[in-house]
């Protein structure tokens, strides 16, 4: 029961902070919508798509890009929550989290899960608007996409946590944008299918295949049509485990960065 109170408290705080920052919600929503309304509309005529699973007919580019944009929301949410961890660390909020008696893996795991649940609200809001724009997933897809989004969100959130443990000070968001968000998003199957990438550059296709974000997007893409992409699930789950284990190592009081870094400020 105590464990539940701890998770409930952490989740409630994430949620309250989220609804207090309405700009964040709109920014999170506008970003993928700009891609959907403007970029996808422009690209529609340029890019021909063949029928590849999970699609059974030719699909419009808007339809193709929607799972990638769901991934984009989760990617931004993960990086933003990592940034807020760094900010929390500069204030005493992080210290007071770590000095509370629950084990660190549980505290960090709760924080990760809570921030992903908040991000899921954003994704569903986006999917609803996309639906009005004519992007229709499978009726069951609305349900089956939830665990896929959760898994993808956990992976990207865990990556964010790992980055937060490596960043020593609150730098601006641009560094994370340039070196994490953009490469992950563009070198993936979010905007164009892998076979399309191969036509222009086999190397880029390989890079995209090794990019965990590709697998997160494919997991979401299949789940939107009530299908399971087992390979994508395994890769996403494996990456989540690796990222989270590394994060725990970094936050371990006996090892990791805290010790070497003199615990932030001296």
């Amino acid at each position: 029961m105590i464990w539940w109170y701890v998770f409930r408290g952490i989740a409630l705080r994430e949620f309250l902070r989220f609804i207090r920052q309405k700009e964040r919600f709109f920014a999170a929503l506008v970003r993928p919508l700009v891609w959907l309304f403007i970029f996808a509309a422009g690209f529609r005529s340029v890019l021909g798509l063949s029928i590849t699973p999970p699609y059974r007919t030719y699909v419009l580019y808007e339809v193709y890009v929607t799972p990638g944009l769901c991934g984009l929301i989760l990617l931004f949410a993960g990086m933003q929550s990592s940034l807020s961890m760094v900010y929390d660390r500069e204030t005493g909020a992080m210290r007071s989290l770590l000095v509370s008696p629950a084990p660190r893996w549980y505290l960090l795991g709760s924080k990760l899960l809570a921030s992903v649940l908040v991000a899921l609200l954003q994704v569903y809001a986006f999917l609803l608007i996309a639906r009005l724009w004519g992007v229709k997933p499978d009726p069951w897809g609305w349900l089956t996409v939830a665990p896929a989004l959760l898994m993808a969100g956990l992976m990207l959130g865990a990556l964010g946590l790992l980055i937060s443990s490596a960043i020593k000070q609150l730098e601006n968001f641009a560094g994370v944008m340039n070196f994490v968000i953009f490469p992950m998003f563009f070198a993936s199957s979010a905007l164009y299918p892998l076979w399309r990438l191969r036509e222009s550059s086999p190397l880029l296709q390989n890079i995209a295949w090794f990019n965990p974000f590709t697998h997160a997007v494919e997991l979401i893409r299949f789940a939107l049509y009530a299908k399971l992409n087992l390979e994508a699930l395994l890769v996403t789950a494996g990456c989540t485990a690796v990222f989270f284990a590394l994060t725990l190592f970094m936050y371990n009081p006996a090892k990791g960065l805290w010790r070497a870094a003199r615990g932030g400020k001296s």
Binding site: Y5, E90, S96, G263, K265
Partner: protein
């Protein structure tokens, strides 16, 4: 002979040493704080206060030595030890955007306190720090002194036996500083919580207060301020002592 639980120290530090690479931040630090006592940890910047506070709050483990909080070893039983420790950090731990009550509910939850019990306890601690009227106020709207008192209320939620305040008066004006110290002394009398007050401001202390003087990572003196000062002021005594030991 096994001491009775009531006789256990709130904080017991023995032979604590820590180094960062070639820098010896703490060397063989030992002292203990009995229950219900006030103790100041005095030292200039770089004396090792931050390292000591980081070790007591288990941000990282020490190279050698032991820390016990209310009889629980921090390395072997971190959960029990941390559950007896309340900390006010130098930097703010409360969310400015949320109300005082929302903040305190969150911190009560971190200590596994059930929501119904937490509501009662929040009422009690706010009463103690004289902020009952601000329960629904956003933290951002509180003054600097009120925010510090709110931090103390936060640290007291889970009824710790040791309250650790790290430069708690930083950024406060003279009057707010005095008020905060008076509040802490009152809490010791009222709640019986032991207090370790880390500071570099010598004037905050009274002659009868016990002070542990930390200098270059080692304990230079452990006595009441009056004993340390002798016929000088505390600051003069400190300068004389550190001047004598400076290389």
């Amino acid at each position: 002979m096994i001491p009775a639980p009531a006789a256990l120290s709130a904080l017991e530090i023995s032979g604590l040493s820590h180094r960062f690479g070639r820098v010896q931040a703490l060397r063989e630090v030992s002292f203990s704080i009995p229950q219900g006592a006030f103790c100041a940890l005095l030292g200039v910047n770089g004396a090792g206060k931050t390292t000591l506070v980081s070790l007591i709050t288990r941000l990282y483990n020490s190279n050698s030595g032991e820390i016990g909080v209310a009889g629980h070893d921090l390395r072997r039983n971190p959960r029990q030890a941390l559950s007896k420790l309340g900390v006010v950090f130098q930097s703010r731990a409360l969310d400015a955007d949320l109300t005082l009550e929302q903040n305190l509910s969150y911190h009560a939850a971190l200590h596994g306190i059930a929501p119904a019990k937490a509501r009662l306890r929040i009422g009690e601690v706010l009463e103690l720090v004289d902020l009952s009227g601000k329960r629904k106020a956003r933290v951002a709207t509180l003054s600097g002194g009120q925010q510090r008192r709110a931090e103390i209320a936060r640290a007291l939620l889970h009824r710790p036996q040791l309250l650790l305040l790290d430069e708690a008066t930083a950024g406060l004006d003279l009057r707010a500083r005095g008020d905060l110290l008076a509040l802490v002394r009152h809490l010791i009398a009222e709640e019986g919580v032991s207090t370790l007050w880390a500071t570099h401001i010598f004037e905050e202390l009274q002659p009868a207060d016990r002070a542990i003087l930390l200098h270059r990572g080692a304990v230079l003196a452990d006595a009441t301020c009056a004993e340390i000062a002798g016929d000088r002021t505390l600051e003069q005594a400190f300068l004389a002592m550190t001047g004598a030991t400076a290389a």
